[in-house]
């Protein structure tokens, strides 16, 4: 059981995205800085905070910059470069200097029409954004012009994007479809489409397995988690019924992908311990030689459906939605509409 203690910080703006800064070297277990982006206020901002784990678990503000429109996506390209996408339709880059200052770098505007960009995904030096107008833009930080634009990638608004490989981009839309775009080909149509179910349930977020790129987990509007194997089938491999409210964000733990974290609009934050599936399915491993694909990750196993995933709720249910969660080492960071963000340290995995 994870008995995690937490620190909170009140920011007086609703928090839309929180992200740990990536570790500069892999010897550290956690990170000491995080970025948050706000939404739905007259003036929104992107802020950088310092989290001192060793001393007193305090959080202090290092820098804060105004942001045009809501922050709809936030990602670190490398420990010094931060990218955000905005509901006004642009992408901005921020550079971290001297470990405490954020300076605005390059920015692209008018990438999307009304409604702006709804999500952002990063791979190496490529930044991809998608918007309510069904358009996908792929940019490179070194270039001014967009590398590739899919004008009519989807017939309705796109809710989330993730790079499954450096040349494959997955997008999810509000009708429950996931489309795979091959960036190397010249086609403007998706190379494959995956359908969640017969009903029009929006997929609200996507997460890719850190090491096995064919495994993707999506969170839906009905609170269900779907596990997809991109190599086979056009329907999810497993469907896990999770929260009662739409899932805001799903994250794999970067070092231990058997653990995932989900947060929902109902104010819940859960930790799913997938390693319990492996242990319970131990006996049948010998028989299922043809299914050794499934053993590579517990999430693809059918055991997961039989309620054998150990799930812990990390915090008591909040009255307002939790919008974003990120995890690094033993620290879980989350923030939501109650205008504060929290760090839970020493989360037991």
């Amino acid at each position: 059981m994870s008995v995690a203690a937490g620190t909170s910080r009140f920011v007086s703006k609703k928090v839309r995205k929180v992200r740990w800064r990536p570790r500069a070297d892999s010897m550290q277990s956690g990170s000491d800085m995080l970025a948050t982006g706000s939404w739905d206020d007259e003036v929104n901002d992107v802020s950088l905070w310092k989290y001192s784990e060793d001393t007193d678990n305090s959080i202090s503000l290092l820098a804060s910059l105004k942001h045009e429109g809501d922050v709809t996506g936030l990602s670190w390209l490398n420990p010094d470069l931060l990218a955000t996408s905005s509901s006004r339709g642009g992408v901005s880059l921020y550079r971290l200097e001297q470990y405490k200052i954020l300076t605005p770098g390059q920015s692209w505007t008018d990438l999307h029409a009304e409604g702006g960009a709804t999500c952002l995904s990063i791979h190496g030096e490529s930044v991809a954004t998608a918007g309510q107008d069904g358009k996908i833009n792929v940019l490179n930080v070194r270039q001014r012009a967009a590398v590739k634009v899919f004008d009519k990638a989807d017939s309705c608004s796109i809710t989330d994007l993730v790079f499954s490989r450096s040349s494959d981009l997955l997008s999810s839309n509000m009708r429950g479809q996931i489309k795979l775009f091959d960036l190397r080909s010249n086609k403007s149509e998706p190379s494959s489409t995956f359908l969640l179910s017969n009903e029009q349930v929006a997929i609200t977020c996507l997460a890719k397995h850190p090491s096995q790129g064919h495994i993707v987990i999506s969170g839906g509007e009905n609170g269900f988690l779907a596990v997809w194997d991109l190599r086979q089938g056009s329907h999810p491999t497993t469907l896990l019924s999770a929260h009662q409210t739409p899932i805001s964000e799903v994250q794999f733990h970067p070092d231990q992908p058997d653990h995932i974290f989900t947060c929902s609009q109902g104010g819940e934050l859960w930790h799913w311990n997938g390693s319990s599936i492996k242990s319970s399915a131990g006996g049948s491993n010998i028989i299922n030689t043809s299914m050794d694909l499934n053993l590579s990750s517990p999430w693809l196993s059918s055991e997961a459906v039989k309620h054998k995933v150990e799930t812990n709720s990390l915090v008591s249910r909040q009255p307002l939605p939790i919008n974003s969660v990120d995890v690094l080492g033993h620290s879980v960071l989350f923030g939501g509409d109650n205008e504060a963000f929290y760090v839970l340290h020493n989360v037991v995995l």
């Binding site: 029009q200 929006a202 739409p246 307002l320």
Partner: protein, 543 residues
């Protein structure tokens, strides 16, 4: 409470650093917060956290010492001066007196010990008196405490009369205060800023075992001393109201002076929850109503803020009578700038069963999508709310697009309608037609032909589209193999006839019909002939 303190500090620092006009504003705000905190604390002491027996002295002392901190500043400056004779410091005696008045004996003794003549007898005796003063009632019963206190005060009086402190008039004065002498205490009144401060000081040295419900009398006395009821500021009236436990008065006064209801709403809620309101059965409904009124007003205020509307919704949840209706009305008016926000609004509405809000939000989003020519998104929103009319409208639009351009714009939508295909007949038709098209492309002619026929015959297709369908039928009718049997062909003929007879057809379709009618009839006739022949043959071989 801590947030208020925080705000206050921030405002003060802002006031120092910014320009004159702004700083006046900030100072005013921090004053308000200070007053609010004052009120809050007193309410807590007298109404919320009532102890059995009604002793309030300690808490009142604590309250005063929290809010009137000049003596601490004075002490600090005296100590920091660090000269040989600190008693010459301007503030020395004043600070000492204030410590004594506030009942902070330890600090008073510390300050006293700094005096250069501390070693002398009179100081020693003063020190002793200060030390012996009984203060806490924690493990003593009322009567014991009373006795102890009386004994102590008698001793003070005794020493005073003997003239121990005659040399230092200031020390004498302090002794007089300790003894509870009228004149001394009245003199102190001149130095107090407010009546309640003085009231507490006086009570400390004349009647420390005072009960909370007796405070009203003393309060009146204090007010009279300080200028009477006429000169009460609203803060004073609020405090008086609290002391007299007259809660409606308190709330009324607060509502009058403050511009939004954040404070009274929360205060009343706190009082309500602590059960202090439900003294009278009659009263309780009134007070519940008042609480709700305040909460509703505050929540409505919040809803108009572009970011705090979610919080407002949570407040509405706590208003049992009118909450949900008001929320319904207001949630529908939250300005929606993006899909994300819309889905949050819908989620909130769904949680609380406010279906009309869900429907109207979906419609708004759908119309917005339509305005930017995004029929696919619009349809997705329409389906989300299962809105038949809107869906029909959009399906018609898509069909019109098809007739113009010859292909569908949102094929992935139509291919994957799933269970929502039944939301509207038009949508069902659209889905089926798309299926027909697909079958035709893939070469599944027989099922395609059957489908086409059923679309026409079941009247699922809208009239204006029949022409197109019949035109689509021509290649099937002209095919080498018989795809449509005679019964079906007759039915198609009937449809054609109906169409020709129909005068309400839009012009474009009329023109098209006239052009193609001959071709259709010819094809139908040919097919009929072939079909009849085939059936005849089949009939023959049967025999």
């Amino acid at each position: 409470r801590s947030i208020m303190r925080d705000c206050e500090d921030q405002l003060e620092s802002l006031a120092e650093t910014s320009s004159a006009a702004e700083s006046a504003h900030y100072t005013a705000q921090s004053e308000i917060l200070y007053k609010l905190e004052l009120i809050w604390n007193l309410v807590e002491i007298l109404i919320v956290n009532t102890r059995p027996g009604g002793f309030v002295m300690n808490q009142l002392l604590h309250w005063i010492s929290l809010h009137f901190r000049d003596c601490e500043d004075g002490a600090r400056s005296v100590i920091s001066q660090s000269s040989d004779s600190p008693e010459d410091h301007v503030q020395y005696w004043k600070t000492l007196q204030e410590f004594v008045l506030q009942g902070r004996m330890d600090q008073a003794r510390n300050l006293l010990s700094l005096h250069s003549d501390f070693s002398s007898d009179m100081f020693a005796s003063m020190d002793e008196l200060l030390r012996k003063m009984p203060l806490s009632v924690a493990n003593l019963s009322m009567i014991e405490f009373d006795m102890q206190w009386r004994n102590w005060q008698m001793e003070v009086v005794g020493r005073l009369q003997v003239g121990e402190f005659a040399v230092y008039p200031e020390l004498n004065f302090i002794a007089e205060i300790l003894a509870g002498k009228e004149e001394a205490i009245n003199t102190v009144a001149d130095r107090c800023e407010t009546w309640y401060q003085w009231m507490v000081y006086k009570l400390l040295y004349t009647n420390p075992g005072v009960k909370s419900y007796d405070l009203g009398v003393y309060a009146q006395q204090a007010i009279d001393r300080f200028g009477g009821l006429q000169s009460l500021t609203s803060l004073d009236s609020v405090l008086l109201g609290i002391i007299e436990l007259d809660i409606p008065e308190v709330i009324r006064e607060l509502c009058l002076t403050l511009d939004n209801f954040w404070f009274p709403a929360h205060l009343l809620d706190l009082i309500h929850h602590s059960g202090a309101l439900n003294v009278d059965v009659q009263d309780s409904t009134v007070s519940a109503g008042l609480r709700e009124y305040l909460l509703l007003d505050y929540a409505t205020c919040l809803m108009s803020h572009n970011s705090l509307w979610q919080l407002g919704a949570v407040y509405f949840d706590y208003c049992p009578v009118q909450g949900s209706q008001r929320l319904e009305a207001m949630l529908g008016r939250v300005p929606i700038t993006s899909d994300y926000k819309a889905s949050k609004v819908i989620q909130m509405a769904n949680d609380r069963g406010l279906h009309s809000v869900v429907a109207s939000t979906c419609k708004v989003m759908g119309m917005k999508a339509l305005a930017r020519k995004d029929t696919g998104s619009a349809m997705a929103w329409a389906l989300k709310s299962q809105d038949a009319k809107f869906t029909t409208f959009l399906a018609d639009k898509l069909l019109a697009e098809y007739t113009h351009s010859g292909k569908f714009s949102s094929t992935d939508l139509l291919d994957n309608l799933g269970t929502s295909i039944i939301v509207s007949d038009r949508l069902t038709f659209l889905g089926k037609y798309r299926e027909f098209n697909r079958m035709r492309e893939e070469g599944d002619y027989q099922p395609a032909a059957d489908l086409l026929h059923s679309l026409l015959w079941s009247r699922l297709a809208p009239k204006y589209f029949w022409v197109t369908l019949l035109i689509d039928a021509i290649p099937f009718l002209n095919a080498d193999q018989v795809l449509l049997d005679s019964a079906q062909t007759y039915q198609l003929l009937q449809c054609l006839q109906e169409l020709v007879d129909d005068t309400t057809l839009p012009e474009k379709e009329q023109v098209l019909l006239e052009e193609k009618e001959k071709g259709i009839r010819l094809a139908l006739a040919k097919n009929l002939a072939l079909a009849l022949t085939k059936e005849g043959d089949a009939g023959l071989t049967y025999f």
